[in-house]
Symmetry: C2
Subunit: 308 residues, 2 copies
Amino acid sequence: MTEQQRIHGVLAPVVTPFSQELAPDPQRFLAHCRWLLAQGSGLAVFGTNSEANSLSLDERLALLEFLLESGIDPARMMPGTGSCALTEAVKLTERATSAGCAGVLMLPPFYYKNVSEEGLFRFFSEIVQRVGDSRLRIYLYHIPPVAMVGFSPGLVERLLARYPGVIAGMKDSSGDWTNTRTMLDNFADSGFDVFVGSETLLLANMQHGGAGCISATANVNPAAIDRLFRCWQEADAGEQQQRLDAVRSVVERAALLPSLKAVLARYRNDPAWETVRPPLVELDAAQVQALDQGLDALGFAMPGLNAD
Amino acid sequence: MTEQQRIHGVLAPVVTPFSQELAPDPQRFLAHCRWLLAQGSGLAVFGTNSEANSLSLDERLALLEFLLESGIDPARMMPGTGSCALTEAVKLTERATSAGCAGVLMLPPFYYKNVSEEGLFRFFSEIVQRVGDSRLRIYLYHIPPVAMVGFSPGLVERLLARYPGVIAGMKDSSGDWTNTRTMLDNFADSGFDVFVGSETLLLANMQHGGAGCISATANVNPAAIDRLFRCWQEADAGEQQQRLDAVRSVVERAALLPSLKAVLARYRNDPAWETVRPPLVELDAAQVQALDQGLDALGFAMPGLNAD
C-alpha cells in the first residue's frame, strides 16, 4: 500500500443522528452516508459537526463497525480519531486504519492549552508508533477557533520530516486563508494534501495546489460543492463559488450544526434529524423559519434524497 | 443519605503516575493516595493535574476500582467525572456515586466553545436524571483558563433551583476572587460549598464562608494547607497563608503539573514519578534545579513520605 491513491475532493463531516433518548441512530446515519456517497462526497465521519466529541469511544467504534458491516467503502472514509486521551486516539486510529480507511482526521489533544510543540510532536509520534501500520495516513485537523490548540508550520514540518507519507495532509478550519496559503506553499510539494474546512475557500485552495475541502455544508449541498472541485478550471468556477457561498451564508446564519440538522429534517421530511446532544441545542422556530425562507429564496434543493 | 455529611477541607487533584510505557501505575497511585489521606488531604482523583483527560474512560474506571478494592475510603474521594461525551460522564459518575464517593467534580463539556446556558443546563440535567441516585453530589468545576467553558452565576442559580442538594458546590479555578466572592455571596447560604482552586485564596475563602480548597499543590504540601483550613481563625493564619504562597510560587514557576511530579520524584527518591503523558512534557534539568533550590531555600519537606 505504499503507493496507495490518496483521497482528494469533497468530504462531509457526517452529521450524526440521534434518537429521542439521545442515542446514536445507526440506520439514519447509514442512509445519510449512502446519500452523500451517491452525491460525490467522501465521509469524514466523527468530525466537529458530527458531534464526535459528544460521543463515547464505544459509540464511535460501534458506528464505524456498523458502516463497515453495511458495505460502506472504507476507501471513501476519513474518520475523525483524535482524542485528548492518547490511548483512545490509538484505539480508534488502529481500527480505522486496519479497516482500510483512506485516512484519519486527527484533532490535537485539546484539553490543555498553550502546550508545547514538543508535547504535540510526542503525542503524534506515539500514535504513529503504537498504530504501527504502513497504511496509516494522518490528516492534521487544525481548528483553533474550537480546539484552541493548533498545528504551527514548525510542528507540521517536524512531523512531516519524521513521518513522511504517514503525515498525509491537513484540514485547515482556521478560516484564515493566510494560514492555508502558508501550508500550501511550504508543504504541498512534498505531498502534503491541504483541505480547506469550508467550501468558501475551495476555489482558492484548488488554484493554489490544494486537495479539496472537508466542509460541514457538504452534508446538505454535496453535489454542487463536488462540481466546483471537479470543474474549478472552467469558466464558470467563480459563479459556482458564489452560489456555494450564498447557500453557506444562509446555513451558517444561526448555529451551523443545528442548522444542518434542521435542513436534513426538512428535506428528508423527518423531524428526528433535529435532535442534538447537549451542550448543543436545536434551532428555535424563528430560526428554522428564517433558514427555510433563505434556502427557498435561493431555489435550494437536495436531489436524490428520496432514493434511499 | 439525605442528611449525609458534606466533604469539606483540602483535597488534592491526585497526580497520576505512569510507567515508562505511559500506562497508569496503580501501585504508585495508591501509595500516593494513602500518603495524602494520612496528611489530611481528601482525594480529588481525575482532576486537571491528574492528567484525567489524557486517560481513557476505561483507564479512569480501572484506577477508581483499584482504589476502592484497596480499601481507600470513598467518603474521602471526589473523583473528576466530567467529559465532553454525555454517556462517558454518566458512566463514571454512576460508578463513583454507587461506590459511595463524597461527590463528583464535573467539568462542563469543553470541546464546543460559546455554548449556551441552556445547552449546559441540559447536559447536567441529563447527568442527574440518568444517574438517578439520591446520593449524587455534583461539584461544578469552573476552570475557564483551561476548559474555556465555564459556569456563570445564572447557570449555577438555575441548576441549584432545579436540583437542590444534588448541585452541592463548585471548585472555582478561575483564579478570579471576584468570581469566587460572587459564588459565595449568591449561593453559600443555600448550602452551595465553594472550594477555591488554589490555596493562595484559602484564607479569603474561609473568611467568606467557603468550604476549603482543591489545589494541585496539595499533592506536595497537604499538611500545611490542611492546617490553615483547620486554623484559619487563629492569630497566625496570615503567616500560614504567606508560607503556603511561598511554596506555591516556587512550584508553579515552571509548568505546574510536571513540577509537582518532579517534587514527588525527588522526595520519594523515585524518578519514575517524572513521567507525564503527551501533550505535557516533563521539566528540563535547569527547571528541576531551580525548583530544588527554591524549595531548599524555604526549608521545604514532605513529612511521612517514607512511611508507605
